[in-house]
Every structure is written in C-alpha cells, then in structure tokens.
C-alpha cells in the first residue's frame, strides 16, 4: 500500500473497491494515525475488526488447505499468501500494541470519563479496568494501606495538581491535508494561520490538528 492508495481511498469517485481492500486501507490508516497521535484515538467503528479477524481466519484456513498440495505452482502462491498474512497480522498486532501502550500509560485518565471510555473497545476497557485494579491493589498491599486514610486516594487534586497524568496534547504531529482548508496553529512566540491546499503537508500541535483530522479534512502521516 502506498500514498496513491491512500489518496485514492479518499477520492469520492472510487466506490468500486472491494470490502476487503477497503478494510485493509482503513486498518493501515488507523495504524498510522494511532502511532503518531499522542492520545488514544477512538476504536474503529462498523465492526472493522470483526471483518479483519474473519479475513485472517479465512487466509489461515486457505494456507492449511494449500499446504498439503505439492504442486510447485500452488507452493509459490502459498508463499505469497503467507507473506501477506504475516504482514496483515503485523499491522493488527502493532496497532493493538500501540493502543495498549497508551492505555497503560494513562489508565486512570482513560477510565475517568464516559467519553474517554468510549474510545476503547470492550476488551480494552476490561483490560484497563482490571489492570488499574491490580495496580491499586499492589500499591495498597505494598504501602498505601498503612497510610493515614486521607492519603490513600490515587486521584487527589490538591493544590490544583491532579494526581492523574494526562497525555500531552501539544505534541507535534505531521498531517496531510485531504481537502483545502484553513489551518490555524499555536506557536511558542506567535500563532499562525494559513490557507492550505489538498495534499499539503504541515507540522503542528496535535491539539490544533485534531479538529481537522476528526472532520476528515486531514490525516496523520
């Protein structure tokens, strides 16, 4: 998959791409975006992962069928399919791990509100909840339980500083514009604003890029 594929995908005139291919493109985009965004992005909607899982399962079965065949021609096909399968699996794995790393880093933050919880899949939510419970338990049994009761919380916000760490939304990201749009960015010394064209690439803070990405006007690269 290369840039042309990505560009083609967002071209509204192309509708005849088969579902499987669209799923792969969607996965690739989600993967790229997840790896560059500093905060957890919403779990892909529309059962994307159910379809991906089914596709992987189908290919694995296919490989098993072909393995018995000693015909050199199908043997070559087998290697191609297996390579593709490994790459597909890598995408999924890397994507899931990237998300998990973010969830582990700021577990309490992502559990703190319904809107943030909704970004996780059911399995991720279960994982995060359980992980946090384990950690808390560990702290309690290691030292917290012998603390005075008013100091046992993990979510104090005394002195205006919350104990819950949040991701840094001001980290720089690089985005590519998908539609002509007006881009505003905050700088250190002064803020900037620019009228930009489709295909332009710009580096700016995630907090500024987020609305554009969510509106489908830009994508992370």
């Amino acid at each position: 998959m290369d840039i042309d594929d990505i560009l083609q995908e967002v071209d509204p005139t192309v509708y005849r791409i088969p579902q499987e291919k669209r799923d792969l493109q969607e996965l690739t985009r989600a993967w790229i975006a997840e790896r560059s965004a500093p905060e957890l992005l919403p779990w892909p909607p529309n059962d994307l992962f159910e379809r991906i899982n089914a596709a992987i399962k189908r290919q694995i079965e296919r490989v098993e069928e072909l393995t018995g065949d000693m015909d050199p021609k199908s043997n070559f096909a087998l290697i191609v399919i297996q390579t593709e399968l490994e790459r597909y699996k890598y995408l999924v794995r890397s994507y899931l791990r990237a998300r998990l790393a973010k969830i582990d880093r700021h577990t309490l933050h992502y559990l703190s509100s319904d809107a943030l919880r909704a970004r996780m899949s059911d399995i991720e939510l279960a994982y995060a909840t359980r992980h946090q419970a384990l950690l808390h338990n560990h702290y309690l049994s290691s030292f917290l339980s012998s603390f005075p009761p008013n100091l046992q919380n993990l979510n104090d916000a005394v002195g205006g500083i919350s104990m819950i760490e949040t991701p840094d939304l001001d980290t720089a990201v690089i985005i590519r514009l998908l539609k002509d749009s007006f881009v505003e960015g905050r700088g250190v010394d002064s803020d900037g604003a620019l009228q930009m064209k489709e295909g332009d690439i710009v580096i700016l803070r995630w907090a500024d890029a987020k609305p554009l990405v969510e509106a489908g006007k830009a994508e992370l690269v």
Binding site: Q82, V92, H131, H138, Y139, P148, L154, V158
Partner: protein, 219 residues
C-alpha cells in the same frame, strides 16, 4: 540530621537506576517501610498539633503552626509520590518482562532451582538473576498480570500479540541456535534445534524462541 524526604529521594534514585537496568534490582523493603513510617509519624505530628484547637484552627492567627502543618503536609504527599513512582517503575519493568515471555515461575519463585541454571524454560537475561528480587506483593502482581495478559491475548487468537514489533520483511529467515531447544514442529516437518546449528525457517514458527534467547536471527 536527616531531613524529611531524604528517604523518599533515595527511593526515587533507586527507581531511576532501575529504568536503565536490564534486570530488576532487589526490592527495597527497608526503605519502603521507613518512608511509610515517616508518613505515619508526620501524620501523628499533624494530629497532635491540631488537637488543642479542637477543629477551630485559624491559620491567620498562628503563622508558626500553620507553617509547620504545611511543611508536614507537603512532606507526606511528596513521600507518597516517591513511593508510587518507585512501585510503578518496578511494575512497568515486570510487565515488560511478562510481555517478553519471561517465565513467571522463574521470576516469582526464589526457591526454585531453575532460577539459577538455565534449565528448560530458563528465562532470558534478567529473568534468572531477578528471582528473589521481588517483594511478595510483586510476585502476586506478576502472577495476576500474566493472567490478565493471557486473557487479553485470548481474544486475539490468530494474532500473536507478543510477537515481534518489527515489520516482517521475509517469510523465511536464517537463524542460528544458541541453546539446545529440542525438536520443534513446523509445516515442513520437525526440526531438531541443536546448539550451533543453522536453519532456514519460517519466522512465525520460531518467533518465541528468538525472544527467549534460544535462537539468533541472522542477516
């Protein structure tokens, strides 16, 4: 005379050092206990200071007491942060080991002989030396976390989540055997992995063995 927070600082230094190490250094049981004790003492001080006021303490009337209270208060919170940071650093490290497939029994069982020799399932670097370096609570934690991870991974049966995070380039790779690993089954028949031999195998089949240090990827 030691000051409030000195002990907490030591913990942070330990944590900082842990981050750069391949293995997990011993748990500082004494230090953790001492810092916790300091918090309790401080809290007792605060309570005894406040006692004569019967809940009607006015900071603007008595600056000296207010200042003492503030310092005590901040010291307690600082100690708590130090403790949290120390424990979190260690659990992060432990989680990383669990992800890397270090055998939990090896990590947690200080009495197990397998911890020293590299017996079957002998863990990669770090695993063997950190056997007794865990606190009992940490051993529990590792066990529970492995269960949690196994449960999460169970939802993605077709994708080995603990697999390599390097993008796969080739289906087949050259590997050299570093430690005897016995016989493994592949689609193309069984391979006997004896030390110093070299094979051309499917990467997916030997991923785990590479991670555990039995095989080395070549080229």
């Amino acid at each position: 005379m030691p000051m409030y927070g000195d002990l907490g600082n030591k913990l942070v230094i330990h944590a900082k050092r842990t981050q750069g190490l391949a293995h997990l250094p011993p748990y500082q049981t004494e230090l953790v206990r001492a810092v916790t004790r300091e918090v309790r003492d401080l809290n007792r001080d605060v309570e005894s200071l406040l006692e004569p006021f019967q809940g009607s303490f006015d900071p603007t009337q008595d600056h000296a007491t207010a200042c003492t209270l503030l310092v005590n208060h901040l010291s307690m919170r600082r100690n708590k942060r130090c403790l949290l940071a120390y424990h979190r650093t260690r659990t992060d490290k432990l989680e990383e080991m669990v992800w890397n497939g270090v055998d939990v029994a090896d990590l947690a069982g200080p009495q197990a002989g397998g911890g020293r020799g590299n017996g079957p399932g002998g863990a990669a670097d770090g695993g063997s030396s950190s056997g007794s370096n865990l606190s009992p609570q940490e051993e529990d934690y590792v066990r529970q976390y492995s269960d949690l991870l196994a449960a999460y991974k169970g939802q993605w049966t077709d994708i080995d989540l603990t697999g390599s995070l390097e993008p796969p380039r080739d289906l087949f790779i050259d590997v050299r055997v570093l430690k005897d690993a016995g016989e493994i089954q592949t689609e193309y028949g069984a391979i006997n992995l004896t030390k110093n031999s070299q094979f051309y195998v499917r990467q997916g089949d030997v991923e785990r063995l590479i991670q555990q240090g039995y095989l080395q990827k070549l080229g």
